[in-house]
């Protein structure tokens, strides 16, 4: 259970992990996501720190980024990051709730705010937004709110 073991096993699978100091980052395809997640659990990354969606309308993808964390002393300095790209019009990713049980609320929040559907998640319903929210997912770049300049004009 060390960072070198993790890098070696990821490279054996044909992936290209990048060590960026605080994180070890690897980009995977959606169909291979579950295998890589199970590999991380075996290597000691037994829970998730965060699931987020990054909206990139310029490339017409939504990037879903998972950060897995470990509480053991050899691994706690490095997070393991998995990046998945899904098409923006049809963002579907398999749910990892069987691999990491604490993905329950993290995936539900990403669905609520970014609109990414996690297939197999038993409870995709409103978490932070009001229950009758009809609009588009609020964190998308085309949902605009008023921006601020350096000086805020008061009328």
């Amino acid at each position: 259970m060390s960072v070198e073991d993790l890098l070696r096993r990821l490279e054996e699978k044909g992936l290209e992990p990048v060590d960026r100091g605080d994180v070890v980052s690897v980009a995977v395809e959606p169909h291979a996501l579950r295998e890589v997640a199970e590999l991380l659990v075996e290597e000691g990354y037994d829970h998730l720190a965060s699931v987020e969606g990054i909206d990139r309308p310029g490339e017409d993808v939504i990037e879903v980024v998972y950060h897995a964390e470990s509480y053991s002393e050899e691994l706690w300095g490095k997070l393991a990051e998995i990046r998945v790209r899904v098409p923006r019009g049809e963002p579907r990713v398999p749910s990892l709730i069987d691999v990491w049980p604490n993905a329950l609320f993290l995936e539900r929040e990403t669905w609520d705010l970014m609109g990414v559907v996690f297939e197999g998640h038993p409870e995709l319903r409103r978490l932070l937004m009001p229950p009758d929210w009809e609009g588009p997912p609020p964190l998308r770049k085309d949902y605009k709110v008023a921006t601020e300049g350096v000086f805020v004009v008061v009328e």
């Binding site: 300095g77 990491w100 049980p101 964190l139």
Partner: protein, 401 residues
């Protein structure tokens, strides 16, 4: 325990007709700003659904509309009682992107305020754990003693709760005259008070009857569920984001990260008292060992016009020049973790080279602890529920962001 057993315990089940629901709503003396939908069979809890989102102020979206520096007061309002520890993670992520390191004196000052805020946050949690079992003296005493630390922080930073003390490159203000003496007086006062808390609260047989043996969380469950903070350490897992060595001067100081073995509600409460003692040890060491020097990195001190630079450093107050608010964040990504009173906070900042960040992701400790509301109560009686809630120190505005 296998994931499928854990998953089954986390998910809601359809009950038969003998199961009824109780809504413990946002207007309730013991619910905070959230709602619980508690499913009961007789007096035994079958399931709990934490209904959060009542304080969802959309901070991740608003951080994309403001300049990077203006998001610091925004993120403070997540946990206003602990505002240094909430923002230090964001400031560290910005410092990694900007490529600037704070000078040693600034790192000592950040540690000083972090520990003062940790004490104030634990006192808030202990006060709430008292009022949830109707021990109003504990509530009044803890909130009165919080004022000691809030006044000390006001001397240092100028504001009672919203300090906005750390900025990328250093801190905003230096130690005022006579601060060390006042801090030592506060520490002596707090040590006496902790003894009194033990007599009226922690050794109180009624409080022990309600909190002992309730809401037991085992160590492997805590690891798998990603629980953070004193809730994790009371289950025997020794993990604290201060040990990562990413911010502050914790690797140069001599302190202990306390853990407990039982994992029940009483262990969590006692652990917070123990952490207050360790924080006071850290404050004493910081005040002895703090080095002389500037409080802001050289790269940004140069931005202040030379005529104003000398008085600013002599008085110990940095006033921002306009260009500082217009900093362009270089392209890239950064991750930072910090330890708040409630647990570990995680920041992931993605920048595309402009003045406003492209995406800021923040996962707060209370959001990571929400899963305990699903996991711990089933099987207990209904009146154990306030005891479980009081021991978890859950803060809804932080969880909803």
């Amino acid at each position: 325990m296998s994931s499928s057993v854990m998953k089954a315990r986390l998910l809601s089940r359809e009950g038969d007709e003998s199961v009824y629901e109780v809504f413990i709503g946002p207007q309730h003396p013991a619910s905070g700003h959230m709602r619980f939908i508690v499913r009961l069979q007789g007096d035994v809890i079958v399931g709990v659904d934490p209904d959060i989102g009542w304080v969802h102020r959309t901070m991740e979206k608003l951080a994309e509309t403001k300049e990077a520096l203006k998001a610091i007061p925004l993120f403070e309002r997540m946990t206003i009682i602990d505002s240094q520890n909430v923002t230090i993670g964001y400031v560290r992520a910005l410092e990694k992107l900007l490529g600037v390191e704070p000078p040693p004196r600034a790192r000592y000052l950040r540690t000083l305020l972090s520990e003062m805020n940790r004490i104030a946050s634990h006192l808030y949690g202990m006060g709430l754990s008292g009022i949830f079992v109707n021990h109003s003296t504990m509530f009044m005493w803890c909130f009165g003693d919080r004022e000691v630390w809030i006044q000390l922080a006001e001397e240092l930073t100028g504001a009672r709760l919203t300090h906005a003390y750390s900025i990328p490159g250093g801190v905003r203000r230096d130690l005022p005259q006579g601060f060390a003496e006042k801090a030592r007086k506060a520490i002596r006062y707090m040590r006496r008070r902790l003894e009194e808390y033990r007599k009226i609260f922690f050794d109180n047989p009624q409080v022990r009857a309600r909190y002992e043996g309730v809401g037991v969380l085992k160590s492997h469950e805590a690891r798998r569920l990603g629980v953070v903070g004193p809730n994790l350490r009371a289950s025997g897992v020794r993990y604290d984001a201060r040990l990562l060595g990413d911010y502050g001067v914790y690797d140069e100081l001599d302190f202990v990260v306390p853990t407990a073995e039982e994992g029940d509600a009483m262990a969590r409460l006692l652990l917070r008292g123990e952490e207050i003692r360790q924080s006071m040890r850290i404050i004493e060491q910081v005040l002895e060992r703090i080095p002389e020097g500037p409080i802001l990195a050289e790269k940004y001190l140069r931005l202040i016009p030379p005529k104003l630079r000398e008085p600013a450093l002599k008085e110990g107050r940095i006033k921002f020049p306009g260009i500082f608010a217009n900093l362009k964040i270089p392209e890239g990504e950064a991750v930072a973790r910090a330890e708040m009173g409630h647990g570990e906070i995680f920041y992931h900042v993605v920048s595309d080279g402009s003045k406003k960040p492209y995406r800021v992701r923040v996962v707060t400790p209370s959001f990571r602890n929400v899963v305990l509301f699903r996991y711990l109560p089933p099987g207990h009686r209904f009146m154990d529920f306030p005891a479980i809630y009081g021991s978890l120190d859950y803060f809804p505005p932080e969880s909803d962001r």
